[in-house]
């Protein structure tokens, strides 16, 4: 298990590095997916199979698909790749890079001085306990998250709706004496 943990961790870090340095957007996304998958394996080896499965289903399987979907529609070509590459000049990344290194240094010091590493091979944390925690002590946060998501849903439905089209369709359908075609089959 430990070997799996470290291998997955290395893969995750390497893939994430490629996400940043890759000039082709779709390739970068693929690396990001690989990175998410290896994080899922890390979760699994740490004894959280439920979180691992959700990571794959929700992040790698659904959210990233939408990312790929959008990027696919952008019709990126060689020019964009070249532009991306020009943005990867040291002049551009050296500043953020230094800041990042500082942050990592702080994190390393903090971990070394007190934080304990997750213990590999602990008892698996299954859905039941997660559910108990989520709907017990953290129920308020869950409800708030649900509110936010519901709000997003309503907004999306509102934005996605095209009143003019619907009216037009209704008129045509009425003129032909048929049912509204947007309805069920």
């Amino acid at each position: 298990m430990e070997i799996a943990f470290y291998l997955a961790a290395i893969v995750a870090v390497a893939a994430t590095a490629r996400v940043i340095s890759c000039a082709n957007a779709v390739h970068a996304l693929l690396y990001l997916i690989v990175s998410l998958l290896s994080v899922a394996i890390v979760f699994y080896t740490l004894g959280a199979p439920f979180a691992a499965a959700l990571e794959v289903i929700v992040y790698a399987g659904a959210i990233m698909v939408l990312f790929v979907f959008v990027i696919m529609m952008l019709n990126l070509n060689q020019e964009t790749v070249a532009r991306e590459r020009s943005w990867l000049a040291p002049r551009v990344w050296i500043g953020p890079g230094v800041l990042g290194v500082v942050l990592i240094g702080v994190l390393a010091v903090a971990l070394a001085s007190g934080g304990s590493m997750g213990n590999v091979d602990s008892t698996p944390l299954m859905a039941e306990r997660i559910g108990m925690t989520m709907f017990g002590p953290y129920v308020l946060i869950v409800e708030l998250a649900a509110f936010v998501l519901l709000g997003a849903l309503v907004v999306a439905a509102h934005l996605g709706r095209d009143d003019r089209d619907v009216a037009e369709e209704k008129r045509v359908a009425a003129a032909r004496g048929r049912r509204h075609p947007g309805g069920e089959q």
């Binding site: 790698a60 939408l66 069920e184």
Partner: protein
């Protein structure tokens, strides 16, 4: 860490053997399906189907394989080579991986994962990439349209698939597929969870984009959809991947709703094969009988009909389970 005892070694060897055997069996079943499907379509369209090569034409599979091996394996110069090559491998890989958690009998089965169902869902959600990436990397309008359709279709139907399975999970109290089968000893899940079964099966068809939900490869509109540019062995992988998907959904339906290997008199494996075989034939029947819905109809059907039913089903099942407890 490297101090293996002989017992672990034997265990390991046995598991490896079992894994390979199951893998082979599944792939061979999928390959034979090519023949089964064509023969069955023949029966339902009042014709014969392949009946020349070998007894009843069963060696047609071998002939097709040889043909596909010797075809030119062409990568279009405008394609994104790396992604183009990886894409067909993904669907084979994810589908085969999903078989790992399927319990075939009391003893046969690669692993009993405590997140079995979630693992299957995870693998099927990763399978989307195969089609999307194939469509994108081909740099072809038809392929891209196919890929986009897949993205929307598979993400949507994954939701209904997951929701429909929640009822089963609630009844069994576990994500482990083996535990789910064992929980059906008294009554198959299909009786208390009939709506869930219907939704799961419909979502399953959409997940592996089989007719009637084969919009990503709708020949009449998109030539061959996402695999327009594929040829030779790479196309063969998509082809076999589709049949693997059929086998997978049939096996899962058997396990989740029809009591897996459970059944009187006959040994467990026979029961499993019979049940799964029935659903495989049903897949072919659906292809022979139904017409492809329009894209907006497909989406509307999912979100406006399947989703509410699935949610109501989860709510009712949850209430009943709580009331009984």
């Amino acid at each position: 860490m490297f101090g293996f005892s002989t017992d672990t070694l034997i265990d390991f060897a046995f598991t490896a053997f079992e894994t390979i055997a199951i893998l082979l069996a599944v792939v061979i079943a999928a390959a034979l399906l090519i023949w089964v499907e064509r023969r069955l379509l023949g029966v339902w369209q009042d014709r014969y189907g392949p009946n020349r090569v070998g007894p009843f034409g069963i060696l047609q599979v071998a002939a097709d394989m040889i043909k596909i091996f010797f075809k030119e394996d062409w990568i279009p110069p405008f394609a994104d080579k790396a992604v183009f090559v990886i894409a067909p491998a993904i669907i084979m890989f994810t589908t085969l991986m999903a078989f790992a958690v399927v319990p075939f009998t009391e003893t046969i089965g690669v692993v009993d994962l405590n997140i079995g169902i979630l693992f299957v869902l995870a693998m099927s959600s990763l399978g989307v990439y195969s089609v999307i990436l194939a469509g994108w990397s081909s740099d072809n309008k038809y392929a891209l349209l196919g890929g986009m359709r897949t993205a929307a279709q598979m993400i949507s139907y994954e939701v209904f698939m997951g929701l429909s399975l929640l009822g089963v999970v609630l009844l069994a109290g576990s994500f482990d597929l083996r535990a789910i089968v064992e929980s059906q000893a008294g009554m198959w899940n299909v009786i208390p969870q009939f709506p869930a079964f219907v939704i799961f099966f419909i979502a399953g068809i959409a997940e592996i984009h089989r007719a009637p939900f084969d919009l990503p490869e709708a020949e009449q509109e998109l030539t061959a959809g996402y695999h327009t540019e594929y040829s030779g062995m790479k196309f063969g992988m998509f082809f076999v991947g589709e049949y693997l998907g059929i086998v997978l959904i049939s096996c899962l339906t058997t396990v989740l709703f029809f009591g897996g290997w459970l059944g009187p008199i006959l040994p467990g494996f026979v029961w499993f094969a019979l049940k799964a075989g029935f659903f495989i034939c049903f897949f072919v029947l659906l292809r022979a009988a139904t017409v492809r819905p329009r894209y907006d109809q497909l989406m509307a059907f999912g979100w406006k009909i399947l989703l509410p039913i699935a949610l109501v089903n989860v709510a009712i099942t949850g209430a009943v389970v709580v009331a009984m407890a």
